[in-house]
Homo-oligomer: 275 residues x 4
Amino acid sequence: MEKIKTKRERVKFASDNVAGACPEVLEAILKANDGDRAPYGDDEISKNLQDKFSEIFEKEVIVFPTSSGTAANALALSTMTPSFGNIYCHKLSHINVDECGAPEFYTGGAKLVNLNGVNGKITAEELNKSISGKGVVHHTQPSSVSITQLCETGEAYELDEIKKISEIAHNHKLNMHMDGARFANALVSLDCSPAEMTWKSGIDVLSFGATKNGCLAAEAIIFFKPELVGNLPFLMKRAGHLLSKMSFVSAQLDAYITNEVWLRNAKHANAMGKN
Amino acid sequence: MEKIKTKRERVKFASDNVAGACPEVLEAILKANDGDRAPYGDDEISKNLQDKFSEIFEKEVIVFPTSSGTAANALALSTMTPSFGNIYCHKLSHINVDECGAPEFYTGGAKLVNLNGVNGKITAEELNKSISGKGVVHHTQPSSVSITQLCETGEAYELDEIKKISEIAHNHKLNMHMDGARFANALVSLDCSPAEMTWKSGIDVLSFGATKNGCLAAEAIIFFKPELVGNLPFLMKRAGHLLSKMSFVSAQLDAYITNEVWLRNAKHANAMGKN
Amino acid sequence: MEKIKTKRERVKFASDNVAGACPEVLEAILKANDGDRAPYGDDEISKNLQDKFSEIFEKEVIVFPTSSGTAANALALSTMTPSFGNIYCHKLSHINVDECGAPEFYTGGAKLVNLNGVNGKITAEELNKSISGKGVVHHTQPSSVSITQLCETGEAYELDEIKKISEIAHNHKLNMHMDGARFANALVSLDCSPAEMTWKSGIDVLSFGATKNGCLAAEAIIFFKPELVGNLPFLMKRAGHLLSKMSFVSAQLDAYITNEVWLRNAKHANAMGKN
Amino acid sequence: MEKIKTKRERVKFASDNVAGACPEVLEAILKANDGDRAPYGDDEISKNLQDKFSEIFEKEVIVFPTSSGTAANALALSTMTPSFGNIYCHKLSHINVDECGAPEFYTGGAKLVNLNGVNGKITAEELNKSISGKGVVHHTQPSSVSITQLCETGEAYELDEIKKISEIAHNHKLNMHMDGARFANALVSLDCSPAEMTWKSGIDVLSFGATKNGCLAAEAIIFFKPELVGNLPFLMKRAGHLLSKMSFVSAQLDAYITNEVWLRNAKHANAMGKN
């Protein structure tokens, strides 16, 4: 079972947007550039990501590479939230504070319901109290929950915290999203498996961040429930996030998750952040 | 004055989305990766683009780098078209046919008015006849015109064709957009200056394409009229198109427009396309 | 079977927006005002409309009263067209020309594909040729077809014309919408039953117009397929089209369809229009 | 100067959506129906409203009649809030809780920033603390403030409270909106003039409610600053809120504000509510 720790320290991440890419990722870009590649994600590197991520997550997942974390979050949320829906999130969450209303843009006007939480993390109890109005036509409709891992204060949600939140969400038929901009840092910090930190704890869709941990511009939207994919391919294209030379994004992700590069980078970053 | 040519041949571009980046661009990415860079376009490479593009266009321009041509088009059009606006374009245009409704998404529902044109190019006459309903509350409002250079059939608009179309547009107080996904190819084909093919012929905003001509993922929205920029920075961020490590997009553009790399690439591509 | 006529004359309708309501409708408003009524359509008059319209259409239908024809059309289309969808319609259609982009607003940016048609009516053949791109992520997706009955030139679609169009639509898995702003005039002109002119000919959702034919401000969205209702109640509320005193709209509709008031009004109008 | 009162009691309004219209309003509808009227608000009754409301408000105002309070609020807010804007409002406010996200829909995804307030009313102090992030591209932009008069708990904002809130808003270049669903009740309760309760206290745009106080379905969006009208006529049409027979809405408003009908109704309602 998952190993729960107490007294985990917060990690500071001042520099993760200013540093460049790690050597393995750069090399992969150069290599991907060698020879013609089918455009729009139909290349072999992109296609192989499905299997590689499925292996990492110990489950068949559906993966959409993208070059922006804000886009990954907003696109993911738009598959699980109608225009008249509520997204429950921490008041300090990146989607609420730092994306200039991207979730609202992509969903067509959903409402981000702000939770106060504790230490930057929402709690199952507060979430449960906040969900109301289901089925009443005057109210925006409870639709999804989004948590950030690591959260905005640098703390990680423990596995049982995620499970409790997911349980409340699913009891109310809401979908669970994880903004994993610093997914690897959290994983290393919790010392658990990717599966344990996501679908085994009730996460339905993950924004898998890589840019802040060694890539130039590479993120992935990962679906643990294929039925939630919905119209995502059209929404992505329509938003200008289906790059023609998608293989160079996929190549970054491929190098990132190969030979534990991502975990090594995260361990290093966490160690630096604690000093 | 501009040199007008007759009987220009169409250029075929089957492969420009499948080929990789040219060596200068790759080298620039590697170099940009060397050392920390301010995020979100506040780095020196990005800032210097303003001057470099201004020099190329013989006019002070405002430049927004982006990694997607569809996004460049849709963002540009959203600054010059309200949600109830008409965008006049060729029925075969990329914005109408191949972007899954991106202009509609970014404008909040504008209408793309399809013109039949001749040989893939719209004509000033047909445009003039199509503009109607201005000020009448029941009708969507004429707002902007978009032409593709090279157009979708591979032909280039001659300078006097652009001028006539722009004149009609401006007479009706519409803004002129050029989708320059193959801007360099057109420039080489017309053998004129960037200024002549754009603002000197009445273009207000340009989607400057580079991905199809030697970059990995780099385009630029170029404003010849600063007053049209409007809220673009917020709209870009909100759409997930303000990349944190924007410097690596800017570095591609920088290498692309330095030492005539772009023109050399285009000359080569045009020569290949004619065979 | 349906009676098909030839050489039907066009009807002119210059005055149907300027005339007032008929006596029966006014009387119903006064009567509805007598005593308290449950708000937001939970009153008895509104509830009874379900049965009354079901009787008229010889099928159990789901009815949403509204006070605007533009809203009825746009709301109906938004239940059958995603933001990246195509709505096939005549180039002269009211939804395309006279509603200031309401369908685009309500769908979140769908594309109205203009058909040239013959005499103001689209044809099954042209529709069939126009539908393409299904499943291809670069293209907006064929989603729905809208015809206006009477159409904008004053002509009525014959029953077999509607059937052929619906057959093409359904073969391609598109939904059929009828803008029945002048539904009663068409019905009287064709001398057929409401059922024959709608669901028996393949119509899935109807904008049932009453304002132009004797009401003050009363229309109804009528679903012949309950599975298409989707999230309409929330979309209506969200658009400000769920009036608190909805009973006074319902009262108009109730009086309008009682004792053949609507058919009598339409017969009179058609007779006047032919002179 | 304004008369400030203390210890005003809350008013309960259980029944104002279920009661019918008052006799004067009904009579006006009947009278408006007598004879042809220009459609879409070009009739004499609608046009005269501009003068009548200007007289009432002691200032030249611009008036848009509408049949829905939710639409009046959302349309008003959409003229003063961009898609990436913040609307500051009480957490219990009707626009936040009871309109199923109408402001988000009409603005294209603005964010309603919830204030805790005191006794159902926001305070200038809390507003001032909440406004931040102006000009920073990552954050949604402070754009407008909306207060409800009477507020959702039944209390009225005192004139000096409105003035202090408006001062903060205007200092930050935000626009002030008043949701006056129960405007008349508040006016009677404060015993001040319409001008004092609105533009003289800093209100820029008012949703003037009439449905809850004697009309069937009649509200008005009233602009005290003509420059804020912007594109409202197009947005209204596009939303299906420009009724063809607008004269019957205007007739209700006309009767409502003539001979102090509205004030008499409100006095009666307030007296009943206090028992």
